[in-house]
Amino acid sequence: MKIVVMIKQVPDAEEIFIDPVKFTLNRSQARGIINPSDENALEAALRIKEAVGGEITIISMGPPQAENAIIECMGRGADRGILITDRVFAAADTYATSLTLAAAIKKLGEFDLIFAGESTTDSGTGHVGPGVAEFLGIDQVTYTINTKIEGEMLIGERELEDGIEVVSARPPLLVTVMINANIPRHSSLRKKVDAIRKGIEKWDHDTLSLPPDWVGLKGSPTLVGALKIPEERKRASKIIKLEEIPDLVNELVKNGVISTGGD
């Protein structure tokens, strides 16, 4: 199996803050982590590789420091890592991001499975996986909590609102993976060191033969018009001692927070 896993480095939510002067999000100072469900996507891919053999290539589009996320993935057992990085890719929406990633996968050549996370925590649309599938003209199996290969087919369990749908689909396929699909393994330090020695390949818009105005902000049909900062609600934080719990319950009843079934 030739497997591609798409991963994104996202800022750790705890460390994002809003610049009070420039009124913009300050992401640059936030520590980067692998987007949570992408870790599950990699784990699902590694398990298929272990079951039927194959080779896993990580691709990630992002700034140069996203290299660290790829190295971590190599440490967990991926075979090759490619960072798609170029100033002109910045501020891409899902159309332009999907186009760029699809172009990179085309350049890699033949593939059987592409794994993606269910959604990212920083922009969180879940659109990039299906978008890549659309550009490549392939089928997709989304929201999986379990995947395996049986004969020539992929069997996937999809977690939907009202139950689990079990589907059979033929590669080449794009598969998206849920955060509760598996517990991602830890990386091996030795493999990480190997990855650093080998180096991560870097591709830009030239490598992908993509005109600069097809990608990044220019290639994006949507744009951010304005930004509001929602007002944080101030809460009273009224301190209640153990012996004051009866009073608290009475207050909650009085304020209609707890209904006693009488109304």
Binding site: A13, I16, F17, I18, L25, T94, Y95, L99, T121, D122, T125, H127, P130, G131, A133, E134, F135, D139, Q140, T142, Y143, R158, L160, D162, G163, E165, V166, V167, S168, A169, R170, L210, P211, W214, G219, S220, P221, T222, L223, G225, A226, L227, K228, I229, P230, R233, R235, A236, S237, K238, I240, K241, L242, I245, L248, V249, L252, V253, I258, G262
Partner: protein, 348 residues
């Protein structure tokens, strides 16, 4: 599909009407899609357009009637004569063909699993953009533009998303974002259903089985009692459960207790779990790290129970019970049972 950039149409004003994708589950239109239909009708009225429901499935006559009863003005159906289950590829093809034929200006899709599976394929097929998970929609009538607002980065900002040149202007909103529309007194809908086949498109894509199981949906819960690492042991969820039961609510959890296997994932609240907004949220033994907070801070009333008066959860709480949860939770349960029992057995 070729790898091609997003060329806009020459004249965006050739595009009219508001499309709404009608997702069908259990032979009915989902609540999420009905909400979008209501919103679609509002926008259409403002713009002097019509609201158009689009659906894919078997038969569809009953679905068309249901849509009409909620104010749908035109119904475009793809009646699949050889239906073999959901297929992104086939659905994308059918829905996009309606877009090419009708040229809608706006296209609303409920951000359910199915909606999110389809929306970006449809958008790319139609060479347009999507604003995902919007919470507020409005129309700029003069410029015939959809003004969409979406929260980003864990609700730290709300961004206005515009799609100025491309059509349709597509958006999704999470189910529960808007009110359900009222049923109309005199449904008046132009129903157009065409027969289609999916076999060629959905080649080798088959639904083998559907194991029905309602996922715990905390997003519509009125009361949630959540437990965190402060419970100390899996059995701690017993008292959490008892309190939830006394209140007629559901049980929630922080991520580490889910990771430890103390409680299933469907109970997790937070950035990588569910985003909830109950009337009452009780957080017991939860420190209040930002990834948990973003999933519950919109709750009406928040009570936290924690031994640590410095825990970050305190500032997000209306009431902070500074005590050992093993003492506080049973006490709360007892007191709540008392007040509810009073009503059940009125004193004479």
């Amino acid at each position: 599909m070729e790898l091609i950039n997003c060329v806009p149409p020459e004249n965006p004003n050739d595009y009219h009407d508001v499309f709404v994708y009608l997702e069908i589950r259990n032979e009915h239109i989902t609540k999420g899609s009905l909400e979008m239909l209501g919103k679609g009708r509002e926008l259409a009225e403002k713009l002097g357009d019509k609201v158009v429901g689009v659906a894919v499935g078997k038969g569809l006559k009953k679905i068309a009637d249901e849509a009409a009863s909620y104010g749908c003005q035109i119904f475009l159906g793809a009646d699949v004569t050889d239906y073999s289950g959901f297929s992104s590829v086939a659905y994308t093809e059918f829905i996009s063909s309606f877009v090419f034929e009708h040229k809608p200006s706006i296209f609303l899709i409920s951000g359910s699993r199915e909606g999110r599976d389809l929306v970006s394929r449809i958008a790319i097929r139609c060479k347009t953009g999507v604003a995902a998970d919007c919470i507020e929609l409005d129309a700029d009538v003069q410029n015939r533009l959809l003004i969409a607002w979406r929260p980003s980065f864990g609700d730290k900002t709300i961004d206005q998303i515009l799609c100025k040149k491309h059509r349709p202007q597509m958006i999704t909103s999470r189910p529960g974002s808007y009110k359900l529309p009222q049923q109309v007194e005199k449904p008046d809908c132009d129903v157009r259903i065409k027969k289609v086949k999916m076999a060629k498109l959905a080649q080798d894509h088959k639904t083998l089985e559907f194991k029905k199981k309602d996922r715990l949906d905390l997003t519509s819960s009125k009361i949630i009692v959540s437990g965190g690492l402060g419970l100390g042991k899996p059995a701690g969820f017993k008292i959490v459960q008892e309190l939830a039961e006394a209140l007629g609510g559901e049980v929630g959890a922080s991520r580490p207790v889910v990771d430890l296997g103390w409680i299933p994932y469907e109970h997790q609240v937070g950035q990588t779990g569910q985003t909830v907004r109950p009337h009452l949220y009780i957080a017991a033994g939860i420190s209040g790290k930002i990834q948990h907070i973003v999933g519950m801070k919109a709750s009406e009333t928040i009570i936290s129970i924690n031994t640590d008066p410095e825990a970050p959860i305190v500032k997000y709480s209306d009431y902070f019970i500074n005590a050992d949860l093993y003492k506080a939770i049973p006490k709360l349960t007892e007191e709540i049972k008392k007040v509810t029992a009073q009503v059940a057995a009125p004193s004479s």
